[in-house]
Symmetry: C2
DNA sequence: CAGTGATGTCAGCGCTGTTGACACCCGATC
DNA sequence: GATCGGGTGTCAACAGCGCTGACATCACTG
């Protein structure tokens, strides 16, 4: 038993990740400093460096756990389209709450852990749908990038900022911006709905392409 | 003439924004510190506070200029679909180079400046396409969010990180991840192409819906 | 029983954005 | 023409950040 300490040292990777996630959910401020993390743990801030190389490694560990939870806790049913939709919406939910941690994954592919289940399922579903073999990777990339990118973008938005944009658009000179001023009041009223609309567009088109092939 | 100084003080909002953009393009590091900015201008770092409230205001000013340039420099031709595609691809190009500055816009809608042209055109094109009036805002949101979100996400990627993911996927146990390991080698080979693929999916679906209405 | 490695503490480095006091210099006013 | 005042740049400094290296402590091992 080389790594674990039977008497249990106060800290461990799991305990630290727990505390980190607790802090992110508590404060709406999604950027948790190591000093805040230390005081949450009742420990010197630099103590976490005994368990993680740097802050990014904490974030990726947290992200990996979150992704694994998504995959585990998800019961998918229905055809490929419903399942794919549900899977990506679940991904959106977790990215909405923890954009920081999950974005850290992008630049630091974790060393073989748990969070890969959804990627596997996503690709499997595209294959099942009948997407041409050489289009599967690129279709996956498009769906993934839309889901993650749009969600991280949406996660930053606040009611104020959205209202601010409506306001700005409404105040523009109607002569130069006829369409914009007319539409302003209807913009950004429900960004989740807008995301789903875009996702359905993509799924529609994939379905149509598949039908075209099969015929 | 209250604001301008005839003898020309060394600094001005434009000069500062110039220097900022110069720095972003020079260093690939997209995060420019005020101290770097000061030394680029040959001036004390805090001098810029005489012209901007805070760093965010510099970023939004830069972003506004960039957006205005996109709209001005763009000759659109063809049907609504080609024009919309070209417009969003142009938006992607500038977001790819200046993700930081343009993201600052999201939270700080600028006080009535220039960068709104593309939004107006985008909405106009959707109307021209024949999208149902009550769907125009949400369709615009979906396209905008995809373009910006996906592009900002892509802007962070490096050749290394993409290769890292391919590597990670390839090394997974083929038993549990049959689809993923099989597809790994074909992933993330051309993220621009993947973005265009997703964009075409959305435009396909919009076109199909419009045809459905007209019939 | 000595030693070794893991863990937590502490002081501190270099960086960040930002503030307030100060000096200057130019243009307007009496 | 001297005097004021506001816009501008300088400077020192603050609080926060991620992170490092030296040190103390403790538990287990040979």
């Amino acid at each position: 038993m080389p790594a674990q300490n039977p008497v249990a040292s106060r800290l461990s990777r799991d305990v630290i990740v727990d505390a980190y996630l607790r802090l992110v959910e508590a404060e709406d401020n999604d950027s948790v400093s190591l000093r805040r993390l230390g005081s949450e743990l009742g420990v010197d801030p630099t103590a976490v460096y005994r368990h993680f190389r740097d802050k990014d490694e904490i974030l990726t560990a947290a992200a990996d756990r979150l992704l694994a939870e998504v995959t585990d806790g998800l019961e998918l049913s229905g055809g490929w389209r419903d399942q794919l939709r549900e899977l990506l919406l679940a991904l959106r939910r977790v990215y909405l709450v923890h954009p920081r941690a999950l974005l850290a994954l992008q630049l630091a592919p974790p060393r073989l852990e748990n969070g890969f289940g959804n990627v596997e399922r996503c690709i499997a579903l595209l294959r099942e749908a009948g997407v041409a073999e050489d289009e599967v990777p690129i279709a996956y990339e498009a769906l993934e990038t839309y889901t993650i990118g749009a969600t991280v973008f949406d996660a930053r938005a606040t009611e104020e900022s959205l209202a601010g944009w409506r306001q700005v658009y409404r105040m523009l000179p109607a002569g130069r911006f006829p369409n914009l001023t007319a539409t302003a009041a209807s913009l950004y009223l429900d960004i989740d709905k807008a995301f789903r609309y875009g996702l359905d567009l993509m799924l529609d088109a994939i379905e149509a392409r598949v039908r075209g092939i099969e015929r």
